[in-house]
C-alpha cells in the first residue's frame, strides 16, 4: 500500500494507529515525509492591505475663553 493510502486509512479509521502498521508501511510514510520536508507549503489565502494613513493629524480644538 502506498504511503498516501496508508495515511488515508489512518485518517478514516479512528481505531487504527501507527502501532498497527507493518515496518514496511512505516517506512513508506517516513519516506513520504522525508521527500516532503523541503516542499514549501503556503497556507495563507487571505490578504489585507492597510489603507493609507491620513496625511494630516486632526486639528486640536480651539480653546474657548469663559
Amino acid at each position: 500500500m502506498t504511503a498516501i493510502k496508508i495515511l488515508e486509512k489512518l485518517g478514516v479509521d479512528p481505531n487504527s494507529d501507527l502501532s498497527q502498521l507493518t515496518e514496511q508501511d512505516r517506512a513508506e510514510i517516513e519516506a513520504l515525509m522525508t521527500s516532503m520536508a523541503d516542499t514549501e507549503n503556503q497556507p495563507a489565502l487571505t490578504i489585507v492591505k492597510p489603507d493609507s494613513p491620513d496625511e494630516e493629524e486632526p486639528k486640536e480644538p480651539e480653546s474657548v475663553s469663559v
Partner: protein
C-alpha cells in the same frame, strides 16, 4: 440569463488527510473535469488519487511575489477552466470560504459571467481548534480576526470573550509576500493586546495537524512572551477571556417583565 456550460464548485477537504473529507466532497473531486488545489503538498498528493487532472495552485506563490498577484492568478486559472466549459472543482484546505478569499472571488466572478458556481462547506481550522482545545465559542463568545487586519484597523475588542487571531505568521505584514513576519511585528501586536489583558495573561498558539499521525500543537505562555513565541505560517493565536462577564440587570429586568417571570 441562461446558464452556460462550465461550472465551478469550491470545496474543502478539511484539515486532516483522510479524517475530514465528506463523501460529497470526494464525489465532487472525482467527478470533476479538472481540479485545482491549494492545500498542503501531502494533501494534494492524496487528492491526486481521486482525479486524473489535479493542478496545484501552490506553484503560483513566489518568494518575493505579492500575494495579491498570486491570488489573482489563482482566480484566473479557475475562471479560465470554467470558460473552457469544464466542470471545475477548487479544493481549498479546511473550509474553502474561511480565511480564503480566492474561492469567494472566483465564485462571484463565475456567476457574474453567467456560470453556475457555488461553495460547499468543509471542516475548518476553527472547528478543529474548538475540538482540540476544548473551547465552546458559545460559552463566553468568540471574536475572530485576521491578525494583520486586527492590527491595521482600529477595533474595540471585548476581553470577556475569546479572541482568536488567524494567520499569526503574517502578523503586521506590509510586504504582501509569503514571508513570515517576526518578533518586531509581534511586539506591536503584544502592545495592542496589553491595552486589554495583563502581561501574565495566558495565551496559546494553536496549529492543527494535517496528517492523522500528528497531534495538534497547543503552546501556552504569558502574553508578554508573544514576541519570542515559536510561530509558523499555520499558527493561530488564542486569547482566552481576560475579564468576567458583567450582567446587564436593566435588560434582564425588561425581559422578565415581558415574560412575567
Amino acid at each position: 440569463m441562461a446558464v452556460k456550460q462550465g461550472s465551478l464548485v469550491c470545496v474543502g477537504p478539511g484539515m486532516v488527510l483522510g479524517a475530514h473529507m465528506s463523501e460529497r466532497c470526494r464525489n465532487h473531486i472525482s467527478q470533476a473535469d479538472v481540479v485545482f488545489s491549494s492545500c498542503h503538498p501531502v494533501i494534494e498528493q492524496w487528492i491526486s488519487t481521486m482525479n486524473p487532472d489535479v493542478r496545484s495552485l501552490q506553484g503560483l506563490y513566489g518568494k518575493d511575489k505579492d500575494r495579491g498577484q498570486t491570488y489573482a492568478e489563482m482566480q484566473a486559472a479557475l475562471i479560465q477552466a470554467v470558460r473552457d466549459g469544464c466542470r471545475v472543482v477548487g479544493v481549498f484546505y479546511g473550509h474553502p470560504g474561511v480565511f480564503a478569499q480566492v474561492p469567494h472571488a472566483a465564485i462571484q466572478q463565475a456567476r457574474e459571467e453567467g456560470f453556475e458556481a457555488w461553495m460547499e462547506p468543509g471542516i475548518s481550522a476553527d472547528a478543529c481548534l474548538y475540538a482540540d482545545m476544548g473551547i465552546d465559542p458559545g460559552a463566553f463568545g468568540c471574536q475572530s480576526f485576521e491578525t494583520s487586519q486586527f492590527m491595521f484597523y482600529k477595533r474595540a475588542i471585548d476581553p470577556t470573550a475569546y479572541l482568536i487571531l488567524w494567520q499569526l505568521g503574517h502578523a503586521g505584514d506590509l510586504s504582501m509576500t509569503p514571508r513570515q513576519t517576526g518578533p518586531e511585528q509581534r511586539t506591536v501586536l503584544m502592545n495592542m493586546l496589553l491595552e486589554y489583558y495583563a502581561p501574565d495573561h495566558n495565551i496559546a498558539i494553536y496549529e492543527s495537524p494535517f496528517l492523522p499521525t500528528q497531534r495538534p500543537k497547543i503552546d501556552w505562555f504569558p502574553l508578554q512572551e508573544l514576541p519570542d513565541a515559536d510561530v509558523s505560517l499555520i499558527s493561530t493565536l488564542v486569547v482566552p477571556p481576560g475579564k468576567k462577564l458583567t450582567p446587564n440587570h436593566a435588560i434582564v429586568k425588561q425581559l422578565k417583565s415581558i415574560s412575567g417571570a
